[in-house]
Subunit: 237 residues, 2 copies
């Protein structure tokens, strides 16, 4: 327990970081986000091959580059916390890779929806978790989630394609549900495997706990944001 | 001929830009560089899959991201010059794609050498051409060639691998020669197809011409820089 060291540690760091369990949970979280972004970079770069035009290719490649640009920040924070960032990422590779394996887009539009919906879901989830973090780590996490407006072109492209072919809308709506389901499956797998991460949500002396009711409200919010995102694409959720 | 409008046009633009042939040549050049960088992004992202570790993957992905980061600058300059950047890139796709098709790396080390040597060759060539451009375009071209030190990790990796396995050095030396040969083949194809680009090298009223002797010296310099680059990797050229 770190209560006696006061609310703030050296350099404005929360004393929470003196707690080795909290520290491990933070490294886990940063590592999960970082590996997710490296992986997103790879998948988006792969999707870029399916682009119907050079302009579209460049737009999706820019999304890929944006994901990658965040990794340095997360890596530096892990190093600051005394962790080897690459070793820290290893436990998350399987869940992230399985998510992508189970949601390989079969065409350009599935790739676009996945980029938009998948990235949005991850960002919503990590933003929720950020509320339970020390201020400095929270700042790093929030900065790593900005998409710099890159994904807005997805909305244009998907809406235009659905307007031309209504059956596409039905297929992509199902696809969005599948993405959500697979994301939940893999998130649950990670939560079950990583005790420190789960403990993070259980709170500490100077951090609020996330009780079952709070977890329920969190998932309600994430589901609602997902539905809004699907609606922006012109899709039922 | 634009001599009568004075040495400098509006906003510090060289009057050379009033010459439609020069303008076309500049758009061609920017388009060739831009498509080359989009293509380099794609190939490096592909090579990232072969990375033996997450750290290496991130390093090569960062090289990919760096290539992509330059495209915006080139695209904006093409737009400024009144061109459609995507249409302008189209004539260069075949030569660049053929270069990559004929030099698909068979393993991680071939990919690393290609990233380092190919990017270096292209940069040397465009830097030579930049001397014949109006100041503003020259600035854009030079900025688009910076590799921000990203490729330095290639030197470490390749040297370490050769130290462990000397036969690899022989194979990669041959590979470097093949890259050079294929780059020359495709550069020649582009020069033959694009009259405006060739005319650029022939000079204009207010721009120096590149005569046969100058072209010879240019290739001598490029070959020498290639040899230095190979030597830095520990490879014969």
């Amino acid at each position: 327990m770190t209560e006696s060291t006061g609310a703030e540690g050296v350099g404005g760091e929360s004393s929470a970081l003196d707690d080795p369990d909290y520290r491990q949970a933070v490294v886990d979280l940063l590592a999960a986000i970082a590996y997710g972004e490296i992986s997103a970079f790879e998948r988006l770069a792969e999707d870029a091959k399916l682009a119907p035009s050079l302009e579209d290719k460049l737009a999706i490649a820019a999304m890929a580059g944006n994901e990658l640009g965040h990794v340095g920040l997360l890596r530096d924070r892990m190093t600051e916390l005394g962790a080897d960032p690459y070793a820290a990422m290893a436990p998350f590779q399987q869940a992230v890779d399985l998510f992508h394996e189970h949601t390989a887009p079969s065409d350009w539009y599935e790739g676009l929806v996945k980029a938009y919906v998948g990235d949005g879901l991850a960002a919503d989830f990590y933003r929720e978790i950020a509320a339970y973090l020390d201020p400095r780590t929270r700042e790093v996490v929030l900065a790593s989630l900005s998409d710099a407006g890159h994904s807005e072109f997805v909305v244009d492209r998907v809406k235009a394609a659905i307007a031309e072919d209504h059956r596409l809308g039905g297929r992509l709506a199902l696809w969005g549900r599948r993405l959500m389901g697979e994301a939940l499956t893999q998130a649950q797998r990670v939560a079950a495997d990583r005790d420190a991460l789960s403990a993070l949500l259980a709170g500490g002396v100077d951090r609020p706990a996330l009780d079952l009711a709070a977890i329920g409200r969190m998932f309600a919010r994430i589901t609602e944001l997902h539905a809004e995102r699907m609606a922006r694409l012109g899709l039922d959720s």
